[in-house]
């Protein structure tokens, strides 16, 4: 065991981490860092010259502003190198760990690293510790340097409260709304909460910043947290993605209206939603496979597309806030390991269809980048 994760879970993580892709990205970061350093050096020369040739108030303002731009370029250059270094170090740990995996994969297909052999379990535990230590080291570095970037720190969104059936409501009253916690572990009633206080007021200041729990069960600021409370990982331990909590079940108003338990229920909710109606989803399938408008969608495409949406749901760990057609959505992303194509699956965040599937499409890297930016800034 390493914190809240089992050795088995960590073995699967090692298996699923692509160290070669990490190295390729690290190399790209290094190349970009060089380009930025080069531009910074040349710009510095130009600015020094400009200082000589442009002697006026406007010229001096230009000089001051340019120095700020140079500082920004320096920070970005450092960041690119920093990302490259950290990814490369983690890739090395993954590569070394992967060497040992085949000799440890002795369990059944559904739990390949389950074992009752104490010697094997001990080896796995050691391997898990080395790998997870690297994850924690790099994670801390990324959170720490990320927080240094200009801009407010975000407060991630929370899933809506579970809607109870009529008899549960009658017996127990409304269910608890998910909340972040204070540093002392009490419910945090800040922005987004039903009991929020005016920003900057004494009550809001006393409330402090919101906290949550990381995957190891440590209390951390909300922008670093995986869960708002300690029970989430236990509730999700039966399998399933993080998006499951945000989903409205098919047949709204029937059973509990939010939260699905497994991939079958997830797909039942998705395919039963307004957004999956034939005229709408077929357009997206055509776009995903680059078919001309109006072309017939072959059954295999529909099946594959449906399976991709299912895989995105099952593997979702992080739910991003994004929008479609100006409507806010909760979004998950997934890359097909076979075709290397991304798929973004969006669910309405509010309004008549809140919690329902909205759309699924292939996002460009630039669109994904914009989504990351939006989520990382408060």
């Amino acid at each position: 065991m390493s914190g809240g994760l089992t050795s088995e879970q960590i073995m699967l993580r090692i298996e699923r981490t692509d160290h070669e892709a990490l190295r390729a990205s690290a190399k790209a970061f290094d190349t970009a860092a060089e380009a930025f350093a080069n531009v910074r050096g040349r710009m510095n020369g130009v600015i020094l010259d400009a200082h000589q040739m442009w002697d006026s108030t406007a010229g001096r303002s230009f000089g001051i502003h340019s120095q700020e731009v140079l500082r920004g370029l320096g920070d970005v250059g450092y960041t690119l190198g920093f990302l490259g270094r950290n990814l490369r170090e983690h890739a090395k740990i993954v590569e070394d760990a992967k060497v040992a995996l085949p000799s440890l994969r002795k369990g059944p297909p559904e739990a390949p690293y389950r074992t009752t052999d104490i010697a094997l379990a001990t080896v796995m535990e050691r391997l898990a510790e080395v790998f997870h230590d690297s994850e924690i080291k790099v994670k801390k570095a990324f959170f720490s340097w990320g927080a240094q970037a200009p801009g407010k720190l975000p407060i991630p969104g929370l899933p809506p409260p579970e809607k109870q059936s009529w008899w549960e409501g009658l017996l127990f009253g409304p269910g608890p709304a998910p909340t972040w916690v204070t540093k002392d572990g009490d419910p945090w009633h800040g922005p987004g909460s039903a009991l929020q206080y005016a920003p900057g007021s004494k009550a809001a200041q006393e409330l402090g910043e919101p906290y949550g729990y990381d995957e190891d069960g440590n209390l951390v600021p909300a922008w670093q947290a995986a869960y708002p409370d300690e029970y989430y990982p236990f509730q999700e331990s039966g399998g399933g993605g993080a998006i499951f909590r945000w989903i409205a079940r098919a047949g709204r108003g029937g059973r509990a209206a939010r939260g699905v338990q497994n991939a079958d229920e997830f797909m039942e909710a998705v395919t039963g939603s307004h957004g999956w109606r034939p005229g709408h989803i077929e357009r997206h399938i055509r776009e995903y496979y680059h078919l001309p408008p109006g072309a017939d969608v072959p059954p295999w495409m529909r099946t594959e597309f449906t399976n991709l949406v299912r895989a995105a749901g099952e593997n979702s760990g992080k739910v991003f806030r994004w929008s479609t057609g100006g409507q806010p959505t909760n979004t998950i992303i997934y890359r097909d390991p076979n075709t290397k194509k991304w798929i973004a699956v969006q669910f309405h965040q509010e309004g008549q269809y809140a919690g329902e599937f909205a759309t699924a499409f292939e996002p460009t890297p630039a669109q994904l980048n914009a989504m990351l930016r939006q989520n990382a800034l408060g």
């Binding site: 531009v39 442009w54 960041t79 994670k139 959170f143 801009g151 760990g317 992080k318 890297p365 980048n369």
Partner: protein
């Protein structure tokens, strides 16, 4: 460097005249525009591999930390590129403005 301000009545530029090497400033603007274009290229090239990291790491705290760090700094990356481009435009517009003024003074 600025010339000593004339006190009137003698040869030399009028009071308030500022010393600008217009041609060099225009050249500097061109260089800055090239640098902005280089940064745009570097930024466009790094985004796809930066996004690839999200497929190379299983969803976990590390995944979220990377998304957070890159999301915030890629914002600065884009701003820096735009800022260099803005510097180029300011220098180019200033050079054009000074050139117009010089022309009028020479008329």
């Amino acid at each position: 460097m600025g010339r000593p301000e004339p006190d009137g009545g003698q040869d030399g530029p009028p009071a308030g005249y500022i010393d600008v090497d217009v041609d060099s400033l225009a050249e500097a603007a061109e260089v800055l525009a090239t640098l902005a274009a280089d940064l745009k290229t570097a930024t466009d090239q790094v985004i796809p591999p930066a996004i690839d990291v999200l497929a190379a790491i299983p969803q976990s705290d590390l995944y979220s930390a990377y998304a957070f760090c890159w999301g915030r700094w890629s914002n600065v990356l884009e701003s820096a590129t735009l800022a260099v481009d803005a510097c180029a435009r300011v220098a180019r517009d200033a050079a054009a403005g000074y050139r117009r003024t010089d022309r009028r003074l020479g008329e």
